[in-house]
């Protein structure tokens, strides 16, 4: 094909954004799982990504096989789920959502300190053998890494969907998400369900942590990037799994486009109107997602796929 270079470049930017978006989606997925089942807005999800990755990389550095390290980390995340349920959530039943939210921030602080206390605060490189070459389609470069990451994310979502649809536990989870009291009344143990969703969210965090860690190194900034999952949730709706994925893709693409095309355009606009040269508007990525989510909320407060908010006096 003989498309001009600019067009290829545009495709590359979009594709890049989509891949970044899958990462946001992975973190957002963890949020949605917990929010649906327990109504807790889990701020610690970002730290859980870091914590899982830290454990994983720590065990590998001790010389363990990656599969074994993964298994141990999963065991740790399950133990964490039990601890969170038994030590925190159980004692905060019936509290206002903001209190539960604050308690997860407390958990986030604890995990951050705990993870770095055990494994140290350095940046850990992580190599799990994801291919790192590039393909060329026309003038467009596609990182193999990005593709494998998207495939992993897709598989994960598929497995989760199957888990929710076909297993007994999955059905129980959906029942709890629909209506706590009705679920209780047919004999579904709520506490056990909470442990399960936290454990599942922990495993999702592990996958996200491995992929992100392999790309950026396992370091504290992972948890800050994870904050981006919040606008993703807003866009998709707090209660919707497909919403988390599509929201992630929209945000990922949108912020890459804004960074590459929006910021220079705005710079030249400022230069033309005020004559002030050389102001750099780079770093639009930092806030674009949040502002997009805010504008979006004006028109659809419940998000793209969220349940309609019905209020009664």
């Amino acid at each position: 094909m003989t498309l001009p270079f600019e067009v290829w470049f545009f495709f590359e930017v979009v594709l890049n954004g989509l891949f970044t978006g899958t990462m946001y989606s992975l973190v957002a997925l963890g949020f949605v799982l917990i929010f649906k089942a327990s109504g807790v807005f889990n701020f610690a999800q970002g730290i859980m990504v870091l914590f899982a990755a830290l454990n994983f990389v720590g065990f590998i550095e001790m010389g363990l096989h990656p599969l074994l390290a993964g298994a141990i980390t999963i065991a740790i995340m399950i133990a964490l789920a039990y601890a969170v349920e038994g030590l925190v959530l159980r004692h905060l039943v019936n509290q206002a959502p903001i209190i539960l939210f604050m308690s997860t921030i407390g958990i986030a602080f604890f995990l951050e300190g705990f993870g770095e206390f055990i494994w140290g605060g350095d940046v850990h490189a992580l190599d799990v053998g994801i291919p790192d070459g590039a393909w060329f389609v026309g003038d467009m470069m596609i990182q193999q890494f990005d593709v494998s990451q998207a495939v992993i994310a897709a598989v994960l979502v598929g497995v989760l969907a199957a888990f929710f649809t076909y297993t007994r536990i999955g059905r129980a989870l959906r029942a709890v998400a629909d209506d706590h009291q009705a679920a209780l009344s047919v004999g579904i143990p709520l506490n056990q369900i909470w442990v399960i969703v936290w454990a599942v969210a922990g495993m999702v965090a592990l996958v996200a942590g491995i992929i992100w860690g392999a790309r950026l190194g396992v370091q504290f900034s992972l948890s800050i990037i994870a904050l981006k999952a919040l606008p993703v949730l807003i866009l998709g709706g707090f209660t919707s799994v497909p919403g988390a994925i599509i929201g992630g893709l929209i945000i990922g693409t949108g912020e890459k486009l804004a960074e590459i095309y929006g910021a220079p355009a705005f710079e030249s606009l400022v230069e033309a109107t005020t004559g002030v040269d050389s102001i750099s508007f780079g770093g639009v990525e930092e806030w674009f997602a949040y502002v997009l989510a805010m504008i979006f909320l004006f028109f659809r407060p419940q998000g793209l796929f969220g349940d309609r908010i019905i209020e009664r006096v």
């Binding site: 959502p97 300190g113 807003i234 102001i279 949040y290």
Partner: protein, 358 residues
């Protein structure tokens, strides 16, 4: 308790709603303020005044602001840091471009411009509630800080991008900038804290405060009894951002002595939110207790191992500090979700009956 409340009878509605319903309370508060103004500057040293009391008082102002918005009006905000930054940068622009303007007016105007920005970012609250609103305030947090960092106009095209706070005098004493003595800065900050604290406690027990609380408790019901959500929510955003703006201006001018965006990042927002939650949502006293607790706790954790003769690597301390901090927050939420102010109330109730609780 140290005193009894028996025998104090209120004969009018006004007396029942007074700021201090018991005369001895009034004396106690006046005594406390006098102590803070006179005794503490005399006995305090550079470290205590400059590194502990000044920042804690400033953060109390910010916590008051956030408490008005979150505790009294029920609108969760994660953008406190951004509103503080707005106050700091606007005050800096005013102080440097209008040399003769009194510093008190500069800081108040910094708060006013922050209030205007707060209203703009409060607009979504009319359609959005709860955590959705929290995310839109995150938009304020990241967008405003980015703006202050990227547009050189805000720092007067300073080369380093981190200008120092200009030295200014109030009542003949140098109160801002690195040259000012910590005592002068402390008194200056304390003045703001006391005035704003009294103002806040009067606001929340008046008509406007009751409107905020009605909106918080159930906005639809409040609307039905004739409270306009638009004005009420936006006024809460305005007042809250004003407090945060003043706190931010003081933080830059009297504490860190530089005007920089990185002092007001997302962690600052969370710190202030912690203060409000741990201190007690919807309590003026709670804002102060929370500020002292949250600000002093890391300092205590940092120096405690040295006191008992343990020597630990500073990196390890930092990590353990995070753990203990997180665990304590969870612990406090479990023990008393209504915060330190409620704990204080319970203690008072118990002492009132002591030593004959039955």
């Amino acid at each position: 308790m140290f005193y009894r409340e028996a025998g104090i009878f209120k004969t009018s509605y006004a007396a029942d709603q007074a700021l201090f319903r018991i005369p001895i309370d009034k004396l106690f508060v006046i005594g406390l303020i006098a102590f803070a103004f006179i005794v503490i500057p005399l006995v305090g040293n550079e470290y205590w005044l400059g590194s502990i009391l000044i920042p804690t008082l400033i953060l109390s102002i910010a916590a008051l602001g956030l408490n008005i918005l979150t505790g009294y009006c029920g609108q969760l905000s994660l953008g406190t840091g951004a509103f503080m930054a707005a106050g700091a940068f606007m005050a800096y622009k005013l102080a440097t471009n209008m040399e003769g303007m009194p510093i008190i007016l500069v800081i108040l105007l910094g708060g006013v411009s922050s209030a205007a920005i707060g209203v703009a970012f409060g607009l979504p609250s009319l359609r959005i509630k709860g955590f959705y609103l929290a995310v839109t305030t995150l938009a304020a947090q990241f967008f405003l800080l980015w703006l202050f960092q990227k547009v050189p106009w805000f720092v007067n095209y300073s080369m380093s991008g981190v200008p120092t706070a200009p030295p200014r005098e109030a009542f003949g004493y140098l109160v801002t900038g690195a040259e000012a003595s910590s005592t002068a800065r402390y008194i200056f900050v304390l003045g703001f804290t006391v005035v704003l604290g009294l103002l806040a406690s009067n606001l929340v027990r008046g008509r406007i405060g009751r409107m905020w609380m009605a909106i918080r408790d159930m906005d639809i019901a409040a609307e039905l009894i004739g409270i306009k959500p638009l004005q009420t929510k936006l006024s809460a955003f305005a007042v809250s951002s004003f407090y945060c703006g003043v706190a931010g201006a003081l933080w830059s001018f009297c504490y860190i002595n530089t005007v920089e965006a990185s002092a007001f990042d997302i962690n600052r927002s969370f710190t202030v939110l912690f203060m409000v939650i741990i201190g007690g949502l919807g309590s003026i006293l709670g804002a102060f207790l929370g500020a002292f607790f949250i600000f002093l706790l890391p300092i205590f954790l940092n120096s405690a191992p040295a006191w008992i003769g343990l020597s630990i690597a500073s990196e390890t301390i930092a990590h353990v500090e995070f753990m203990v901090f997180g665990a304590l927050i969870v612990f406090f939420l479990i023990v008393e979700p209504a915060g330190l102010a409620r704990l204080w109330g319970i203690t008072k109730e118990k002492l009132r009956l002591w030593p004959f609780p039955y």
